[in-house]
Symmetry: D2
Subunit: 162 residues, 4 copies
């Protein structure tokens, strides 16, 4: 019997995005796949789809945690999909299922996933994403990256060895 995958990384971001963010997300997906990490996401379009497309192109495994009861709305680059039926509340499962979380751009749902990830003690790496401060400081557990490569390197480095 082989062990399960040792590392999961959640990639979060908007369900619709422009070409630049999509390219960044795809590169994040590619780099995660090359590192052998399993990609977790919300399973929909935009950043999620681009990241899955990148990962699949490198032979990586992608899992989509969908908001609906049906898997029909999932993007076409998912190896496995989970039908939660709990709408935006599934954001908790996305955040918690990552040993680390990378936010690429993002809108309100992404902001909620950042908060939930921090609440669950998951490290979060921001790439062209929200600027979130309290008293002028980034919250503990959050790092900012300026390239996909830096984001993936930071995220994998922040995962505690099993």
């Amino acid at each position: 019997m082989t062990a399960g995958p040792s590392r999961y990384v959640a990639v979060i971001g908007a369900g619709r995005c422009g070409g630049e963010l999509a390219a960044a997300a795809a590169e994040v997906g590619r780099l995660l796949a090359r590192a052998g990490a399993t990609l977790i996401c919300g399973g929909m379009g935009g950043v999620m789809e681009a990241a899955c497309r990148g990962a699949r192109g490198e032979g990586g495994v992608t899992i989509g945690i969908l908001p609906d009861l049906s898997r029909a709305g999932g993007n076409p680059y998912l190896d496995y999909s989970i039908c939660t039926g709990t709408g935006h509340a599934r954001n908790l499962a996305v955040a918690a299922s990552g040993d680390a979380v990378i936010a690429v751009g993002g809108e309100a749902g992404t902001l909620s996933e950042i908060g939930l990830a921090l609440k669950c003690g998951r490290p979060v790496v921001l790439l062209a994403s929200w600027d979130i401060r309290q008293g002028g400081e980034l919250p503990g557990g959050v790092r900012e990256a300026s390239t996909p490569a830096e984001a993936v390197e930071l995220a994998l480095g922040l995962i505690n060895p099993p």
Copy 2:
């Protein structure tokens, strides 16, 4: 038969807080009660408890949406409590059950509730809370207040008439 309450306001914030934030939360609760709004919160301590204490002192109604299966952990100023059993995922119910949301201070869970509220189209008023920006701008639907009175006035003003 009388109609149900016309306005719900969710007050969100950390489960532990210092005296200054507690005083602000209690004042928010008092002002909401005087305005006849029903106070929704996560039902726990800190900001939630202070807001409920304030509201109850003015005869307001308070509802706690608890993370656990038991209501034993709820604060003592709840008129009604809901046992969700879904942990941090209940943050969605807290955010969505407010016609408007007031954040008083706050930690990671509060950040998630702000994101979820925005995702659900609920207006959010920040009082000594997170500074959240994208491209240097506050997200649409977010307002900043500098006093409890301003926070309550903004929140009630942002609720669409029924």
Copy 3:
């Protein structure tokens, strides 16, 4: 400061029902209100609406835990409504928020709530509802009633004193 309500009873059943079940549900609601219990339900039509209508007619308090992000779909006899946004997963909050649960008739969602209530250790009273057996026996924690009065009496009797 007065204590919160000491007893919550969840009434569960189908969102559409015939006149006989509606009459039974309304009678359950009336009797719960007279006993001073707060009525919890899923907030929709059918058995839920009839029970709320009965309770409101006797001055009881009714709380609907809605599946959607909006309270627009709630029945008109709710004093308070919670917008969970988690669809059928909100059945857990309905079941867990009752100190006891009364099932009146019921379809698949009701069956799930019975299972969830038992999982949470809440006593369940069945009135013209599912016949659920394992090895020919009703599960522990389940009682059958033949009238609304018997259902309410059993349910209130099964609630442990606080």
Copy 4:
């Protein structure tokens, strides 16, 4: 790019079980794996673990949808695990993520999953499980099997072609 797996089957049952049920669950897992179906379960012990062990022994893929925020409690035969953090509410994701559901034995949580599966329109096959009737009849969508082979054959036959 290859397509995702065409068929998911959820295997549900108690987190602790005796040797006979474990043997039946393991055989269900083996037969599902041989048929190329992806096994979905709640990720814990008992029937879930036995089914995963069977599936893994035949090279099948197993996914556990865990109740907790951590994957530490998952059984050792999971290829992939999802950390929902929503406790028993994750039963909806287990039920909905199966294109069909097989119940092996079962306690209260299993009963809730049967109800949720039916609510979501997923066919359910019962193997030494609950006897659930209304007016003396099994609910539509439910079939009873007397052997693991019959259970798997029925479940796969009930999945609509994609």
